[in-house]
């Protein structure tokens, strides 16, 4: 076996230029896949943080069963009562990995500056919970994001999205009035004071979104103690799916007809981007693998033809057909392994350069620049390494098999 490796390795050195060209094809192909995987990994991470923390979706959302589909038509029926909010929150807080349980209440209506009014959609949330929900372990923004904040001591203060504040010429400290329909269907209006403004990061929501304290929201909707959902923040994102299943079983077992969604299920944008990048990744990987396979097969095919007489000699002195196949597939395996290792080196170097270059760009449907960063996606890099090595090795199988089946005397007489 050791001898086969030695022969295979020396075989690669026999035609150095051809081996180098094939190695470069493998290495560049590998690094193209690895760098793109690293970029998408970073984008996924950024989108996940954006969904969980910036959009404050949290990791899990608990709501009454049917709330998402029927709740808009009959909100009264699908809101959690105060007793349910308290009891379910307590059950959730007793679970490991649960960092925060925040009751939430959505509303929509009209916001007026006294002269003009426009529609708004808003989220009611406790100020302390709002601060905790936005705390993420990493932040990708080029321009540090100003966190949205509500004042627990001043429940009448609201946070407005920049577009909404601009539209109504409402600066910080400005006065406005919110008009909404209460749960019972009666119009309810309250004066509000504009606190800070914020950028939602999404052009479609930046001219209509607002945050209110939960108390103010409940007052406007006349929904004392109630919530349409509970946002759960975990201390470990990897526990999300497992905990969802566990919590759902527990809550249903305790008699609460609730459903639980993960942040991935609720973030359409994340899923759309993920799906699109996965498709592009598959497309690029297919092209690169095809190029690698053709390159290796071509290189090994030429090698086999050039070494036909040597194959005849080895067969004459006792190497079996399977040994010939093993010899050339080992050579191909070494070629792809070395190529992948070289590709890994190129990946690390280019990744280092990109991450150091401070490049930023504005993604589609976004208003703020984000940095172009490349992660090391260990999972996909390992998968690519293994797949490319296997495929590269198999690419030599056909030429090697053809060589092994050649008659010894024909091979010895090959010119």
């Amino acid at each position: 076996m050791k001898n086969i490796f030695k022969l295979a390795l020396r075989g690669l050195l026999r035609n150095r230029r051809r081996s180098l060209v094939t190695l470069l094809a493998i290495a560049l192909g590998f690094s193209a896949i690895a760098l793109f995987a690293g970029y998408t990994h970073n984008v996924y991470g950024g989108l996940a943080r954006q969904s969980i923390h910036d959009e404050m979706i949290g990791h899990l959302t608990v709501s009454k069963r049917g709330m998402r589909t029927e709740g808009k038509l009959d909100p009264e029926r699908y809101l959690l009562t105060q007793a349910e909010v308290d009891a379910i929150s307590q059950l959730l807080r007793d679970e490991p990995h649960v960092k925060l349980v925040a009751p939430r209440l959505a509303l929509s209506g009209l916001l007026s500056n006294g002269r003009a009014s426009t529609i708004f959609i808003a989220e009611g949330v406790e100020p302390r919970a709002m601060a905790l929900l936005q705390q993420s372990e990493a932040d990708n923004a080029v321009v540090p994001k100003i966190k949205k904040q509500l004042d627990p001591a001043r429940p009448e203060v609201v946070e407005l999205s920049e577009g909404l504040a601009d539209m109504l010429h409402l600066a910080s400290g400005g006065q406005g009035a919110m008009l909404v329909n209460s749960l019972s269907g009666q119009a309810n209006a309250l004066d509000v004071t504009v606190g800070h403004t914020f950028n939602t990061g999404n052009a479609r929501s930046n001219d209509k979104f607002a945050f209110l304290t939960l108390d103010l929201t409940r007052t406007l909707l006349d929904a004392e103690g109630r919530a349409d959902r509970l946002t759960v923040l975990l201390d470990d994102v990897s526990q999300t799916k497992m905990l969802r299943d566990h919590l759902l079983t527990n809550l249903n077992g305790a008699g609460y007809a609730v459903e639980i969604q993960t942040w991935q299920e609720l973030s359409d944008f994340y899923n759309q981007v993920h799906g699109m990048f996965d498709m592009i990744f598959g497309f690029i990987a297919s092209i690169v693998l095809t190029v690698v396979v053709m390159s290796v097969a071509n290189s090994m095919g030429m090698t086999v033809v050039e070494r036909t007489r040597e194959i005849g000699t080895l067969r004459a002195i006792g190497l079996k057909r399977s040994g010939v196949v093993r010899l050339f597939t080992t050579e191909s395996m070494l070629l792809t392994l070395i190529g992948c290792l070289l590709g890994l080196l190129i990946t690390l170097t280019v990744r280092w350069g990109i991450n150091l270059a401070n490049i930023s760009y504005i993604p589609p449907n976004s208003v703020a620049p984000v940095p172009l960063l490349v992660d090391m996606d260990i999972g996909r890099v390992s998968f690519t390494f293994i797949l490319m090595s296997v495929v590269g090795t198999l690419a030599a199988y056909m030429p090697a098999r053809r060589a092994a089946r050649k008659d010894i005397i024909d091979a010895l007489g090959h010119v």
Partner: protein, 235 residues
């Protein structure tokens, strides 16, 4: 006066024919050859080009199969053996020396000689010891680390002889081993083969065009048009 051979037959060929198809036509390279090759013989097969010498060597070396007839190595009939069994058999019992030396260019002289032992699955250190000894026997110990392209034609052929002998075969097949050598190197190579034949009692069968080399052999077989024209045991 011819010597009487009393050694047992190492190889028996009975009514061996070999026919090659070339498009629409077919050529009989060997016609009903029957032949006993005895253990320890130093035997030359000679004759004009196209007489079937190489075809006979290929069949005797078990790298080609006859179209008809039987080849027995000792008591073992080789006709029913599959490719793997034949390959194993060659690895254990037959050494080859080729006209073009056929050394692996990326391996040193020592590594070339080690090759048949390693193909058989021997331990590397043992193979190294045996290969070094075989190179010593052919007078090339100091060239053990040289690549084939750094050796002269005569030296390469001596490495090839060491490679053939390192597995202690019963039979060495050498197809035109001196064809690519000058007369001095040709004589040296044949002398070396002769010496190994005597010292180790290994049977050598080789083909040649050179009538001068026939003076050194125990037996010479003249082939013409695929048939044995004469089979002389030398005095």
């Amino acid at each position: 006066m011819n010597k009487i051979i009393t050694a047992p037959a190492l190889l028996k060929l009975r009514n061996v024919r070999r026919r090659f198809r070339l498009g629409e036509t077919s050529i009989d390279a060997l016609n009903s050859i029957s032949l006993d090759i005895h253990a320890g013989e130093f035997l030359a097969v000679w004759g004009p080009s196209g007489s079937g010498k190489s075809t006979l060597m290929n069949i005797v070396g078990l790298i080609d199969a006859p179209t008809a007839g039987e080849v027995c190595f000792g008591e073992q009939a080789t006709g029913g053996m599959d490719d793997d069994a034949l390959t194993d058999f060659r690895a254990r019992h037959i050494g080859f020396v080729f006209q073009n030396f056929n050394l692996v260019p990326v391996l040193s002289a020592l590594e070339n000689v080690m090759l048949p032992l390693q193909i058989r699955g021997g331990a590397e250190h043992k193979a190294r010891e045996l290969a070094a000894a075989a190179l010593r026997d052919v007078g090339l110990e100091r060239f053990k680390d040289s690549l084939p392209d750094k050796l002269s034609g005569g030296q390469r052929q001596r490495v090839a002889i060491a490679r053939a002998l390192v597995v202690e075969p019963k039979l060495v097949i050498a197809d035109e081993p001196t064809a690519n050598l000058d007369s001095e190197n040709s004589r040296m190579v044949v002398d070396l083969m002769r010496e190994m034949n005597r010292a180790r009692q290994v049977t050598f069968v080789f083909t040649t065009h050179d009538p001068r080399l026939l003076d050194h052999v125990d037996r010479k077989i003249l082939l013409r048009d695929g048939s044995i024209e004469s089979d002389e045991v030398m005095a």
